[in-house]
Every structure is written in C-alpha cells, then in structure tokens.
Amino acid sequence: MSPEDFDRLQSLMATRAGYRLTRDRMKLAEHRLGPVARREGFETVEAMLAALWARPVASLGWAVIEALLNPDTWFRRDRGTFDTLSGELLPALVRARAGKPIRIWSAGCSTGQEVWSIGMAALEIGAAVEIVATDLSQRALEKARTGAYTGFEIQRGLKAQTMLRWFDQAEDAWIARAELRALAHFTRANLLTPPTADEPRFDLIFCRHVLDDMDAGVRGQVLDQLERRLVDDGCLFLGAGERIGADSLAFRPVSGRQGLFVKSPTVLKRAA
C-alpha cells in the first residue's frame, strides 16, 4: 500500500469512525485488509483501495473500516471493574430500582466477551438486567450474537468453573447458554452519530478501551453523548487506565475504583 493510500485510510477512519489509525499500524492495516480484498473479489489490497477511492461504495468502505478497528477483547478484562460491578454497583442498583430491570449499555462491545461478563455477574447475584450491546463492526456483532468462542478465546479471562457453568460445549466451540443470551440485545451503532432523544436512558454504561483509540477531537463529543444516555445517578466504566482529562467536563472519576466515573456536579446542576 502506498503512503497516499494510508493517508486516505487514516482520513476515512477519522471521519467515519473517529478512529485514530496511527502510522505504526500500516503493516497491520495491510495484513487486515488482505482478507477483505479477497472476500470482495479484488486481486490485491491496492486494487481494492484504488476502486474505493475511485467510487466510494458504502458497503466496501465499511468493510474496510471494520477490518481496521481494534476488536481485541477478553472475558472479565480489567478484573477490578467486574469486582466493583458485582460487589457494589449491581447490589446497590437492585435495591434502588426495586425489581425493575437494570439497563446496561455495552458501547463498543466488539465480539461480546464484555457483554457475557456483565451478564454472568448479574445472573450470579440474581440481578435483573437488560443489556444493549452496540458496535460499529457488523462482523464483530455477528460473532457476538452467536455467543460462540474457540477454546483459545473462551479461556482468556474465564475460569474453567465459570466456563462450564455458563457455556455449553459444541464440538470445538463454547456457546453462551440461552439464559445468558436472553439478557442481551445486539445492534449496530456509531458512537459519532447522535442518538434519538427519547430512548430510555441507561443505569450503567460500559465504554471500555474505545476512547483511547479515538481521535482527540471527537472524544469529548462521544463522552457528552454518553452522559446524555446515562441516568443522573448512573455510572460509566472506561477501560482501566483510560482518562477523561480535558476531553469533557461531563464526568468525574470515582477514586479507588478502577475505570469508574459518575456525572460531574456541573452536569447535574445543569439538569436540575
């Protein structure tokens, strides 16, 4: 791929997905786009990109964008987050919502490991939850919906005991049990697109290891939207080590709780 191709990919990723495709990912990009080119019937990656630049077809554009996103995830990633969830947040929300299901949004759910990790935590303490799981990548969502993982994927972060309890073995795959899958609804969404105003808000939002890959220019905009989708006493989880800093005034970190944020007083005052 030529440097010009890479420049245009960078700008495609930035404008459509807010994604920061750094120059050190050039080799990785070529590697990831190989299978896309073959699938779409092109001889080479260069030929595919030339066709895309000549006539930007949405479906091809999104296939390219999806392949360049970072899909890496695993079960119970940032274990402290899940300890806080099952030990503190879910029990408190169960009491506060008095039997009404707790609404949770997994924003940037990739292949679903986060969704099932939340679901297992909820079922294990008997908390009623509804999980809306969104991602930009249609392919990642397809895998997430199947709830099926290889032996390699299933044991990344998951104890064998937990795996046996919540997943059924089918030949080489481990498939999330129906009771777990019933908790989640998967749908494609772009965090850059403003949500429709009248959708019910969420009690908890997980948006982990998403913002760090985004352009600094759009992070604030995404955070402000997450704030609007969150109830006033709700919580936001970012990835361990992810900071908001100057990107947005909407949230403040909760000290001593890895990756946990609540709405800042300024936002709450505005709401009142």
Partner: protein, 123 residues
C-alpha cells in the same frame, strides 16, 4: 519476600520449556517434573505455590497425582492448574471436582496463562 514457586509437570520437554518461559515472566521460580510420580516426590519434600499439571503422562497421570497431592500434609495449599489437550467438558468437570483450582486447555499462550494465574489468586 521469598519468590513464589511453580512446579511444571508435563512429559513434553518442549511444553515445559514454553510454560517455564511464561511462568518465569510472572515472577515465579520454576521447577519441572516429567510425570506425576516425580512431581509427587518433589511435593513431599517442598510444596510449591502453584502446580501446572498435564493430564496424560507415563508412570503416573495428572489426575492420580492431584488426588495423592491433596491427601498429603499441606497438599491442599498449592493452587493446581491442569494444562492439557483434554478439552471435553465432563473431563474438565472431573478435574475440578478432584481438587484442581483451574483448567487450561492446550493450546494456550501467555495471556491465557497469566489470566488463569490471576483468577486463582496466584499473582
């Protein structure tokens, strides 16, 4: 603080070498045994903190070793992680009920192994 210790029990020298590199990366002092009987002799002398245990081995298999280990004085202390090509759910359940703390299905990598060590509280 004395370094934590891990005994790697596998009849394959290559697997032992791969696992040793990963486990040493988790700051463990590593010893090796080529079968369950060798491992049991080792444990009777010095209990390791963690045992990484293959299932199918000559002389004494992993499950027999595990049952005998748990019967030794202090044998309930080591965290035992099976690490084997056996991936059937009922066999995994059998290993867990025999007293294994966790179970690693081969093939594995450093990320899987370190996440398993974290889940059993070894690191």
């Amino acid at each position: 603080m004395t370094p934590r210790t891990c005994l790697i029990v596998d009849d394959s020298r290559i697997i032992r070498k791969v696992a040793r590199r990963i486990v040493e990366g988790l700051k463990f002092e590593v010893d090796e045994a080529a079968d369950g009987s060798e491992a049991l002799t080792f444990c009777a002398a010095v209990m390791p903190d963690v045992v990484l245990l293959d299932w199918s081995m000559p002389v004494m298999d992993g499950l027999t070793f595990l049952r005998r280990l748990r019967a030794l004085p202090g044998g309930d202390r080591p965290k035992v992680l099976f690490c084997t090509i056996e991936t059937r759910a009922e066999r995994i359940a059998e290993a867990l009920s025999a007293g294994a703390d966790d179970y690693v299905m081969k093939p594995f990598d450093g990320e899987i192994l370190s996440s398993k060590f974290a889940e059993v509280g070894a690191v």
